[in-house]
């Protein structure tokens, strides 16, 4: 059977990813506090695609980078991601992540907060080791933008006045900022030109936005709108994601009353998720959400234009298609 785009990229980066995985395993250790590697291992070993560190490696290798600093940076990126997952699960009061119980459920919120802080600090130690101030600048900025996006999401939740513009701001922060930084620093460490690092940033930004839109669409069962056991979380958490924002925009009076009750007041009863799905079907918002994701994918691929033509560039373009293929 032919490999999919994700597996092809994995194969191309296999040697580098082995080095990154070794770094991750070594640096998540703690001499004094055994709770740290326990919590981290639970999350790290559960898998996750490690897409973000792969983007860093691909971006560096695309320019024939011959050093090893991209391993440090890729591990940095994964640590930042893992730290935000630990804190997200506390904030969202989640009980499932990657098909396993979350750390906040297995241990407690305290451990998730503090181990997240530890990983975040470790990520800064790793990037400082590169001695590259531009890399440090980009990743420190990305961290601030991520946290800002998360806080913005907090105040936008349950607020029916949330516009598509605010939604875009939120997902650019909480998701796309790390994608774009991961790509950009790969180019920076490899000595790419400004035009090229800007192209990598733009690719990562559009890819990250598409990725999050698809995630939010999948929470309503994807474009096929088939609800399963992993769907409806955003509805229950009263999050204003694109499928709902589009439906609120077009709501008639009774629909508006419905959204006010279930999202703003949080009074949800049996059958409300199904009613929400019906309203979204009426206004075709899942299809429109998917169209927006596809537009971002096209933008991501177009952004790659200034980069040298090679297998890795093709692989990055294919990854953009892959991200949205989950909801085709």
């Amino acid at each position: 059977m032919a490999q999919g785009p994700f597996e092809r990229l994995q194969t191309m980066l296999a040697e580098d990813m082995a080095a990154v995985n070794h770094l991750i395993a070594t640096r998540m250790a703690s001499r004094h506090a055994p709770r740290i590697p326990e919590v981290t291992a639970h999350l790290v070993e559960a898998g996750g695609k490690r897409l973000r560190p792969m983007l860093t490696l691909a971006a560096a290798n695309l320019f024939g980078y011959g050093g090893t600093d991209h391993h440090l940076i890729a591990a940095t990126v994964e640590f930042i991601h893992t730290a935000t997952l630990l804190h997200d699960d506390v904030v969202d009061e989640s009980d499932q992540r990657r098909g396993r119980p979350t750390a906040n459920l297995l241990w407690d919120n305290k451990s998730s907060v503090l181990v997240g802080d530890y990983l975040f600090s470790r990520s800064f130690q790793l990037m400082v080791e590169t001695g590259n101030l531009r890399v440090l600048d980009i990743l420190a900025n990305a961290s601030a933008v991520i946290a800002e996006g998360e806080v913005l999401q907090l105040s936008a939740a349950q607020d029916l006045a949330t516009t598509q513009a605010v939604y875009l701001q939120v997902i650019r922060g909480k998701t796309a900022a790390l994608f774009s930084a991961a790509c950009e620093v790969g180019g920076v460490i490899a000595g790419a030109s400004d035009v090229q690092t800007n192209a990598l940033f733009a690719y990562g930004d559009a890819l990250g936005v598409a990725f999050q839109i698809v995630d939010d669409l999948l929470d309503y069962g994807g474009a096929s709108a088939s609800l399963g056991k992993n769907t409806g979380d955003d509805f229950r958490e009263r999050k204003l994601t694109l499928p709902v924002i589009l439906a609120v925009e077009k709501a008639n009076a009774p629909e508006r009353k419905f959204w006010e009750r279930v999202i703003e007041k949080g009074e949800q009863a049996e059958g409300d998720l199904e009613r929400a799905m019906q309203i979204m079907a009426t206004h075709d918002t899942l299809t429109q959400t998917r169209k927006q994701a596809l537009a971002w994918v096209a933008q991501a691929k177009a952004a790659l234009d200034p980069l040298p033509d090679n297998d890795l560039k093709t692989a990055l373009a294919d990854i953009a298609d892959f991200v949205v293929s989950r909801v085709v």
Copy 2:
């Protein structure tokens, strides 16, 4: 009336602290998420002594530093401190900080976690602006040691087997690591020699340990053992601090049973805090705790020896006395 040691240091650093306070106010802003400055202002405006940034400024000025990077570093140090306070209050489920309701109570745990993350990222942005890799290295390491100390405290809590050595490890991490780093980076930015920056580290480390021992002693009313409305928190949270560790070391059989019930099992009833105070009085553990704090103060002052003799060196020695004067 003569100024106390703290006010004298404040006067000596007034101009620099004005610049630091301006940086803090500017950098805690957020264009997109107004919740961030709200939460931060609540904590920052509540005061707090800003002892840590003052240590950085004093250490730099002690060598006649003429630049402005010490302002960036001092603001970094205060941001790291503020971020850990926000997360600590979530972890400890506190409802009071600096005489005001905590942010987790006024807003929610989510806001405290995420705004803490934001300030932590902002602190890294500030330090990257100095472009000094040694400063970045020291502060990134300190952040990891702080988080490690907090996690260690989590697993040591409620565990009667916690030794004085583990306690020292915890407070070296959660408190002293930022004191020592704050002092060391001041010297580094001013171009001090290795002997001198090591001396600054040792001073900050001993000062931080003394500071935390005094804090833990004050939670039992200080050496005079007078309980007030701000005492007994550690007892209720079942934390193994030095006064209790010393009492557990010397416990007879019925006392041991008492500690097992109130600390390990957490079964606390009316009168138990008073009983704990009685037991500690029997074994004189509050006096012994104070003696240990005084020994660390002496060590802090001795560490200053290799530094150039001037008013700031005298002020740092006086600050060490001041820290423990709260429980004389």
